[in-house]
């Protein structure tokens, strides 16, 4: 039952999310793809991940959120402008530096990532 719910949930995610960490199990981060694979195989890790996914929702620990931002930005050229803001342009390297330094602006982007995961978590209600 739960496996089919995870399958449906995974099918609703943007495809870039499939390889992004989203659940923390015993200190290990799992991506939606890994969680589904473990759940299908019926492993202990898969069962724990399912339980966390069902009851607690997606992980929100800061290190994982930073890892998600890093992973997303890796696809782009680090020193080419990526974000066009009303204050100027921002490269992936600049954004990552702020995030890793946990500066004021870096913290707001970590919070944005948290909101993004909350949105993904809410998609569970539709499966």
């Amino acid at each position: 039952m739960t496996v089919s719910r995870i399958e449906r949930w995974v099918s609703m995610l943007p495809r870039q999310e499939l390889d992004q960490p989203c659940v923390s199990v015993d200190g290990r981060w799992l991506t939606p793809k890994q969680m589904l694979s473990e759940a299908r195989a019926g492993t202990e890790l898969g069962r724990k991940a399912q339980a966390i996914w069902e009851r607690l929702g997606l992980g929100t620990d800061e290190e994982m959120l930073i890892e998600r931002i890093k992973h997303r930005l890796e696809r782009y050229s680090p020193d080419k402008p990526l974000f066009i803001t009303v204050a100027g342009v921002l490269t992936p390297r600049q954004m990552l530096a702020e995030v890793e330094a946990r500066s004021d602006i870096g913290r707001t982007w970590i919070q944005t990532e948290r909101s993004y995961l909350k949105y993904m978590d809410k998609l569970k209600e539709r499966v």
Partner: protein, 245 residues
Amino acid sequence: MPISGTLLVIQPDFDVATRFCSYWMERTIEHITEKRIRADVLKGGNANLEEFVSSIQKDPAALWGAGHGNEEAYSGQNLVVLLRKGVNEELMVGRVCHLLSCRTGAGGGLLESVAEKGAVACIGYAVDFIIGLAVEPYAESKMTQSLCEPDCEIEKVFADGGTCIEALEASDNKSERWVEYWRGSGHPDADLVIFSIISNRDAKRVYGVPEATSRLTVPPVRVAALAAFWLGMFGVSVALLRRGG
């Protein structure tokens, strides 16, 4: 007392970011003016300090401005400062001020100060507003549209007589619809756009009176009074004509 039904729009267009803002604001202004709201638009080179002060003297009920900004100041064409914390906030007394600009909505920043100095309400963004993405750097792209429209939605609600709270809700709903669009798009950069939309959505702030409207719509009492006046004039004219005949 600022004049109901009048809006001052500041629309600089000297770089990529301001051109993107200008492109989508233009479409919203079409919607606003259809509602018989008088929009005084300072576009491009007219978005300067002299024109700004002169337009404020016409006493508009609300201001909608795009342009570069930070915690201390908001600027128009070529970065000329139009509003600065601690310098000319009194220009906004009695008005609703909405800025599509970076960081002017940060706590303790320009807009909070403008509201404290007597603006009815102020809406802005606490962090850098992401207006576009370099993977599709065009004003008319779906990416730019999905980043700009949630802000434009605020003015649409004001034009319909809504409050600041209603405007913010509508803006959030617009953001949600765009997030849904990108989620199902299969676009290779969908996650990046979703992140950017959420960043803008979460950065919105309101100071002053959140229940206030921007008084862009003419109050029904005034409409009724005007209608009664013209009906009366019509009646008098008819009576005079009859007497004359």
